[in-house]
């Protein structure tokens, strides 16, 4: 048998119709729905008098618009309408929804894995580009638009052209104190925001095998920021251990059977990819983005680049525009840049391990004066677990704000935003112009780096900060 990649295996298993020269009709195993990209899809179903084909394979949550201070008091009337519309649509079409009062409510890409809905080998879609997060489990998971949401609701399938396969190999060992976020930011900085266009990425290599599931989720989450349709990682024992005992994962004999099936999914020895790119893990240092797309990132020891370093006119213009928007001068050490806001949260970095990592930096220090720092857990479950561990108290004592769960300041569709002209060290995934509020300036970092920046008031190498503490304690 010809050796296959996991991407081809999942693809082949889900083809309902395959005709030469046409996109394939791909069956969808899990469809996750949220309030922002679904109302027009349900409206479309109603106009054509169509049903949801498989409400049992559809799961809804409310996350994008949710206030994180008083989540039951939504003052934005349009946001309120969107949330109420989702509830109404789910009631009408028989779809399970974890509403704001539900203890399992949270960011769609946090709760899918947390509840065990996300499993190896599944095709998973959601009207959100960060659906790639679920690929960490060896699922083929990708973001879709609202027309496609409607299509999946009506037919439980999608017409898709077979993607190319791109292997991103992370060789060697990560240095001490380097986070998964640094790895994915380094990958995007090295290969660009469109290296993955038209492709599904498989992340491979020793560094990946050594990562926990939560770290793998951070990596796959930002595949879309490299332009890829999806990103995934072949499942292994780490994957099965994470899933065992979760709510929607079968137990006992059935689980053993499942793991047997899952273990056939990993990419075969000798399988080939359309393209392979390689990065050496040992070269990666804590990363900070300086510009307005996620590839515009540098190591913490580096200087803000100059447009003169660009190799093409388009890149030169890109750097100039980014520097102007970010109000940064070429040659400035990134460590000298001060921030007014810190955001720890989003589907990239809001899981329990992220909050633990951030809290571990505090060590009795306080948030620098003039800095507002927010911690927004990814789900109500994460929030509860963190509180049981006392992380909330560590944050609050240090001067961080401890919030309810939601997407929050990653895209600022709720009341949390960065005012015009101010700077934010953020654990989210996009540093686009205006992403965190009109005129806001976003610098993407890991949770550890975000916490360190909050304490110092400017970007700082979290490893040095931790070192200082050791010396003084």
């Amino acid at each position: 048998m010809t050796p296959k990649t996991i991407i081809e295996k999942i693809w082949d298993q889900h083809e309902v119709i395959q005709e030469e020269g046409k996109p394939s009709l791909l069956y969808i195993d899990l469809h996750m729905v949220h309030e922002v990209t679904s109302p027009q899809a349900f409206e479309g179903l109603r106009i054509h008098n169509r049903k949801v084909r498989r409400p049992d394979l559809t799961f809804a949550t409310m996350d994008h618009n949710v206030p994180t201070v008083d989540r039951y008091n939504i003052t934005d009337q349009i946001a309120k309408t969107q949330i109420e519309t989702l509830q109404k649509n789910c009631d009408e079409f028989g779809i399970d929804v974890v509403d704001l009062e539900h203890p399992e409510n949270g960011i769609v890409h946090v709760i899918g894995p947390e509840l065990g809905l996300t499993q190896p080998g599944k095709t998973i879609v959601c009207g959100d580009s960060h659906t790639s997060t679920h690929g960490a489990f060896g699922a083929l998971a990708f973001g879709i638009g609202t027309s496609e949401v409607e299509h999946v609701l009506a037919t439980q399938s999608l017409w898709q052209s077979k993607p190319k396969t791109l292997e991103v190999k992370i060789t060697g060992k990560l240095a001490e104190g380097i986070a998964a976020k640094d790895v994915i930011l380094a990958i995007i900085a090295k290969f660009g925001v469109d290296v993955g266009t038209g492709s599904v990425i498989e992340f491979t290599g020793d560094a990946i095998r050594g990562m926990t599931m939560e770290e793998r989720m951070t990596i796959c989450n930002m595949s879309i920021e490299a332009g890829a349709k999806a990103g995934l990682i072949s499942p292994d024992q780490v994957t099965y251990d994470y899933l065992e005992g979760r709510q929607y994962v079968p137990s006992g004999e059935a689980f053993t059977e499942l793991t047997k099936r899952w273990s056939t999914l990993a990419t075969d020895e000798g399988a080939t990819y359309d393209r392979t790119v390689t990065i050496d893990a040992s070269e990666i240092e804590p990363m900070v983005t300086w510009g307005t797309n996620p590839s515009q990132g540098i190591g913490i020891s580096k200087l803000v680049p100059s447009p003169e370093e660009a190799t093409t006119d388009a890149d030169k213009r890109g750097i100039e525009q980014a520097l102007e928007y970010m109000d940064l001068k070429p040659g400035t050490p990134i460590q000298d840049v001060r921030v007014q806001h810190v955001f720890i949260g989003s589907c990239t970095n809001s899981r329990l391990s992220d909050l633990r990592a951030a809290a571990s930096v505090i060590n009795g220090r306080k948030v620098a004066s003039g800095v507002r720092a927010l911690v927004v857990p990814g789900s109500q479950k994460v929030k509860k677990q963190a509180e049981e561990e006392g992380l909330d108290q560590l944050f609050i004592k240090a001067g961080f704000e401890w919030r309810e769960s939601g997407c929050s300041m990653c895209l600022s569709m709720n009341p949390d935003f960065v005012p015009e002209g101010e700077r934010c060290a953020s654990t989210s995934n996009r540093n686009f112009e205006g992403r965190q509020g009109k005129g806001s300036r976003t610098h993407l970092v890991s949770p550890e780096m975000a916490a360190a920046t909050a304490l110092a008031g400017h970007f700082v190498d979290v490893r040095q900060l931790k070192e200082e503490k050791k010396m003084t304690s």
Binding site: V36, G44, L57, I144, A154, G227, A314
Partner: protein, 197 residues
């Protein structure tokens, strides 16, 4: 959906790279529950000044591009979020064709599903169109049937997936097409029982 066969219109140029969906339609305008009415918010932060007046420096506010139905832009257009509000806003504003060296995948698909034609064109041709349309009104004819683009002293062809070409030429609704395969979907479901959630 309205079919596209031959589209004749004028060009608006946006000579920028990596234009993301947060710029095309900023998130504060994503809260509507309808598909229509997004055009007024297109490129909002670039189009308007803080006091609500038009930003005269912005490309789409130049007098010679008013009424343009064809947008020509730099590489990786439409990157970022999956929000279909981006193509809805472009369509609502009046655009029917978007030409760029390449597009982000989800955005590209979202255009096709809304009866808009995204055209990937070699950078040198895109550059010619950007040059020609930057200062003066540029008329362009896009022929989907023959896959050609023509303007004064300019002619080239473009590639498109034959499936999507047929869908756009006929203005077909994809869901009704898929529902014709209902039996095959049922058979698949019987063979591979989806795990209930």
């Amino acid at each position: 959906m309205e079919p596209i066969k031959v589209h004749e219109g004028t060009v608006a140029t946006l000579n920028r790279v990596n234009v993301d969906t947060d710029q095309i339609i900023p998130k504060q305008f994503l809260k509507r529950v309808e598909r229509t009415g997004f055009g007024q918010f297109l490129f909002f932060d670039w189009r308007f000044n803080a006091d609500g007046s038009e930003n005269q420096g912005f490309e789409l506010n130049q007098p010679h591009v008013k009424g343009a139905t064809i947008l020509v832009a730099g590489h990786n257009f439409g990157c970022g979020s999956s929000r279909e509000h981006a193509p809805w806003a472009l369509h609502d504003y009046g655009f029917r064709v978007i030409i760029a060296p390449n597009f982000a995948d989800i955005f590209y698909n979202n255009c096709l599903k809304n009866g808009m034609l995204p055209i990937r064109l070699d950078e040198k041709y895109v550059y010619q169109l950007l040059q020609k349309g930057e200062k003066e009104t540029l008329k362009v004819a896009v022929d989907l049937e023959n896959q050609t683009i023509k303007a004064e002293d300019f002619e080239t062809s473009f590639a498109i997936d034959p499936y999507w070409k047929q869908m756009l030429l006929n203005g077909w609704d994809e869901i009704s097409l898929t529902l014709q395969y209902d039996e095959k979907i049922k058979k698949y479901e019987e063979k591979v029982v989806g795990q209930p959630v």
